[in-house]
């Protein structure tokens, strides 16, 4: 849907400010009441969800003025969806969708962010969102003897993702995932060097056409394998295959699982039996793409019913963050001997963003790090020894910030803990 189609939603914003805070029932104290990194960091109302909608609505009426400050507002947003959840606690209106469309419109109108354009250009050239730096995508699997899903028939395709494939520090997660699946006797394969980017981050950066072109390549590749199930250890890739592809009619019947969902299933079936592990108190960071943004897409078409209420025919089912992947990672952690989970104040659908989403890690690393530092400070308040997540982007940024700022927290991807325990 184009921005114009959200005019009604944008006109609904009453400037109540709920989009700036966690759902009010979940405010647990003075600390950790904020939910939007952008308004929290930059303070002006136009950095909030509501302020952005008001700008979009005014732009539709009077034309968009791509002045530097407007572009600064546009790109300094993780598109994490927290504002959307908090608003929809009380309201029936779209928040994140028009904000995303404003970014797409800016790119289409010739105002991409230069740093993000570089990233997208790289994707066009190499099929990767991260620097390839002379490495090959499948290098991480060297010596593991994994099956290539394009050459052998397997039940499940393990999609590794750009960051986990190419970042030497993240490749351990790919190897741990492969080991765990192997121990559980899962029939799985990888695409090795042939794997290509899902394209989702290009979409968040506003480059919708590039996303669609890349998604078509990825879809074709997955179809060639003939698998019915795709699993990934990357929260972003999960959201893209599960939600975004579905939205654009690219998913078909493919079952998309995040590794935590598959692990929960394998643990339940007794195919994984965790028996060892370290005594450790951890807190879990819900990646935005796995949590609120990972809620399945709802296909709906309808029209507003004329009259006093913002209601539609047929009734519009809103995605409110209710059905994200929140429990599987927690159940997996609960199954690991020695691991004790303590929760942060902001969790699940109202979790504070880890900082890397929406292209911000590339367009404004300082803001991304600030956002991650806020999350790490919250994690520290729990008394946990480690922060566990299920997203390579969050893990990378957390580790980077801890290395820079100091701190005693260890950072784990959840698969690493499972790998240690089985």
């Amino acid at each position: 849907m184009a921005l114009e189609e959200y005019a009604g939603d944008m006109s609904m914003c009453c400037r109540c400010s709920a989009c700036k805070f966690v759902p009010l029932q979940q405010v647990k104290g003075f600390k950790h009441a904020n939910v939007c990194p952008s308004i929290s960091r930059y303070n002006f109302h136009f950095y909030s969800g509501g302020g952005r909608l008001n700008l979009g609505y005014a732009g539709l009426k009077n034309g968009f003025q791509y002045v530097p400050r407007y572009l600064d507002v546009l790109y300094n947003c993780q598109l994490c969806g927290a504002c959307d959840v908090s608003c929809k606690y009380g309201m029936d209106m779209e928040v994140l969708r028009p904000i995303q469309e404003m970014r797409i419109k800016a790119v289409e109108d010739g105002h991409p962010h230069p740093a993000l354009e570089t990233v997208v250009s790289r994707m066009r050239a190499t099929g990767s969102m991260v620097p390839v730096a002379g490495r090959k995508r499948g290098d991480w699997a060297e010596g593991l003897g994994l099956r290539n899903a394009l050459e052998e028939k397997v039940e499940i395709l393990y999609h590794v993702g750009c960051l986990t494939s190419f970042d030497p520090e993240r490749q351990k997660v790919a190897r741990a995932t492969a080991r765990v699946l192997d121990r559980a006797g899962v029939s799985f394969g990888v695409l090795g060097e042939a794997e290509t980017c899902c394209g989702g981050r290009a979409y968040e950066m506003g480059h919708q056409a590039d996303f669609l072109a890349q998604a078509a390549k990825s879809k074709e590749l997955v179809e060639k394998t003939g698998v019915k199930t795709l699993v990934t250890s990357c929260a972003t890739c999960y959201q893209v295959y599960k939600v975004l592809y579905d939205r654009f009619g690219l998913k078909d019947e493919l079952e998309v699982l995040h590794i935590t969902q598959l692990l929960e299933r394998l643990l339940g079936e007794g195919r994984l039996k965790p028996s060892r592990g370290q005594e450790i108190t951890v807190t879990y960071h819900d990646p935005c793409h796995l949590g609120r943004l990972g809620e399945p897409w709802i296909h709906w078409q309808g029209k507003k019913i004329p009259g006093d209420r913002f209601v539609f025919d047929p009734p519009k089912p809103y995605r409110r963050g209710t059905h994200g992947v929140y429990e599987p990672p927690r159940r997996v952690l609960a199954a690991l001997p020695g691991v004790r989970l303590v929760e942060m104040d902001r969790i699940k659908e109202y979790a504070w963003c880890g900082g890397s989403c929406g292209g911000v890690i590339d367009s404004n690393p300082e803001f991304a790090e600030w956002t991650a530092a806020e999350r790490l400070a919250e994690a520290t308040c729990t008394g946990a020894e480690a922060i566990v997540t299920a997203s390579p982007w969050s893990e990378k940024l957390f580790a980077q910030v801890l290395a820079k700022n100091g701190g005693d927290l260890a950072v784990y991807d959840i698969v690493e803990l499972v790998d240690q325990a089985v």
Partner: protein
């Protein structure tokens, strides 16, 4: 309109370059208003300096903090107090909390719950400032409006710093009326048309005993949080009555008995809005509840300080209800719905469901005053809504109004609103006409005088009806605001 470069530099010199914006392209973000600039002061000293610059350059200004905002004259300088966000002190012994403007009610209440204390959150919602003046669900037992403001730190319209009440003499926050200067009637009452001239930079809020849990244990996900376990010493019920008079008598008796933590004269449309998560659900629930009630009603929460206290309050409540032929709404007795209402109404977390969700906008007539008069007026105002409902111009709430006794009933609050779509000019016109007619009727039939009206209405009708108070107010304002930097004579408009 951007600021003159010299003026911009002066403001930036106070708050820093990163805390001022005058880019016209960004001003539409501020809800109907094209401000000349937005500045973000961090401290009282910065507020003073900004206000003095406004005086020097003859720029009108308005402060806002968290929560809803009104409609302001284009060209106004906005002081967004967002960076003033600290709880300065929670004094458990003397039962007050000192807050800066951007502390939300939700934050303060969560901290107070941990200490067995609470404050009266305003009906506008827990996202609004903890220092906000106004009314809320807990008016019955926790005071209301300016009565909960103790000492105040106030930057006057010309930039002077005034410390009111005990703060002005002994540097402590415990009293708004002294020892020390008390200007309560000027800065906090409804006598100024509706808006304090100048800026409150710190306020001591009066605290009350909280008999509930230190934190509600919730399950589920947004937008439907459920109470995991109902506190054994709390109960929520909705009672309807055969007649308005019986409801009113029951309200008086409950106030006299001082048993209710909350008594909120919800109409069933508001109950339906609170317990549902979408407009469609809301509509269906409203129809269902409308069939269940026998007439007008109210929502009550009782909370005991001991099992015996709870049993006593419950027995008294049931007796009063029975004596007035009240009937408990079965839907609210459902533990799940009771839990939703209990948490929702004490934490004030769903106001927008009652107001903005249906159509995107609402227009309200809020009245502080004697309940017996205002209830009678509200019946007529509600009936006057029915043609608008029939024409599909406003959301159907059955012509409902709401209200409650304040401080166990010695004061009262009544309110009525129309919910409509801001995209429908015909609806807006009809609602404006309804509001004007009903305000005029209140005055003509001597129910009350609405002091929150537009300046021309205050000048022509309301002021003369109230001993020409407005002329005195304008003289006071001229002294406080020699350079006329307060727009609209201090009247705050909620709608353009």
């Amino acid at each position: 309109m951007a600021l003159d470069k010299e003026i911009y530099a002066a403001f930036a010199g106070v708050v820093g370059e990163e805390n001022i914006c005058d880019d016209p392209a960004l001003m539409p973000a501020y809800f109907f208003t094209d401000f000349a600039a937005v500045v973000l002061p961090k401290s009282t000293a910065e507020v003073q300096a900004v206000v003095r610059l406004c005086n020097q350059f003859r720029l009108q200004f308005r402060p806002i903090c968290t929560g809803w905002t009104g409609f302001f004259r284009p060209g106004t300088v906005l002081l967004d107090l967002r960076r003033m966000d600290q709880i300065v002190e929670i004094n458990e012994k003397n039962m007050y909390a000192v807050v800066e403007p951007y502390v939300t009610s939700a934050q303060l209440q969560a901290e107070l719950f941990k200490r067995g204390l609470c404050t009266n959150l305003k009906g506008a919602g827990a996202q609004c400032s903890a220092m906000l003046r106004g009314h809320g669900h807990l008016d019955q037992s926790m005071g209301a409006d300016d009565r909960n403001h103790l000492a105040v730190e106030w930057v006057t319209p010309d930039g002077e710093l005034v410390r009111l009440g005990s703060l002005g003499s002994v540097g402590e926050w415990f009293s708004g009326d002294g020892p020390g200067p008390s200007l309560r009637s000027l800065i906090s009452s409804v006598v100024p048309p509706s808006c304090t001239p100048g800026v409150f930079t710190k306020v001591a809020m009066k605290l009350y005993h909280w008999p509930g849990p230190t934190r509600y244990s919730l399950t589920g996900y947004s937008p439907r949080y459920l109470l995991a376990e109902k506190p054994p010493n709390m109960m929520a019920r909705y009672y309807s009555f055969p007649t308005l008079d019986q409801m009113w008598q029951a309200e008086i008796k409950i106030g006299e008995a001082e048993i209710a933590l909350e008594l909120m004269g919800f109409n069933v449309a508001m109950v339906a809005a609170n317990i549902t998560t979408s407009n469609e659900e809301d509509e269906a629930m409203f129809k269902r509840l409308s069939q269940e009630v026998q007439g007008p009603g109210f929502f009550v929460i009782i909370a005991g300080n001991s099992p015996d206290d709870f049993a006593y309050k419950k027995k008294v409540l049931e007796t009063i209800i029975a004596e007035n032929e009240g009937m408990s709404l079965k839907s609210v007795e459902d533990p799940e719905i009771e839990g939703i209402l209990l948490t929702q109404c004490t934490r004030i977390s769903a106001s927008v469901r009652e107001t903005f969700r249906p159509g995107g906008n609402f227009k309200s007539i809020p009245i502080m005053g004697q309940r017996d008069l205002t209830i009678r007026w509200a019946v007529g105002a509600g009936q006057a809504k029915l043609p608008l409902i029939e024409q599909g111009l406003i959301a159907d709430d059955g012509g409902g109004f709401f209200g409650w006794g304040v401080e166990h009933g010695h004061l009262g609050k009544t309110e009525i609103f129309c919910k409509f779509s801001p995209l429908n000019p015909e609806a807006r016109k009809a609602v404006d006409a309804w509001a004007e007619q009903q305000s005029n009727r209140a005055l003509e039939e001597k129910y009350f005088a609405l002091t929150m009206g537009p300046p021309e209405q205050i000048d022509s009708k309301v002021g003369p009806a109230l001993s020409n108070y407005h002329l005195w107010w304008y003289k006071v304002l001229a002294t406080l605001d020699p350079n006329e930097v307060i727009p609209d004579k201090g009247v705050s408009k909620l709608h353009p």
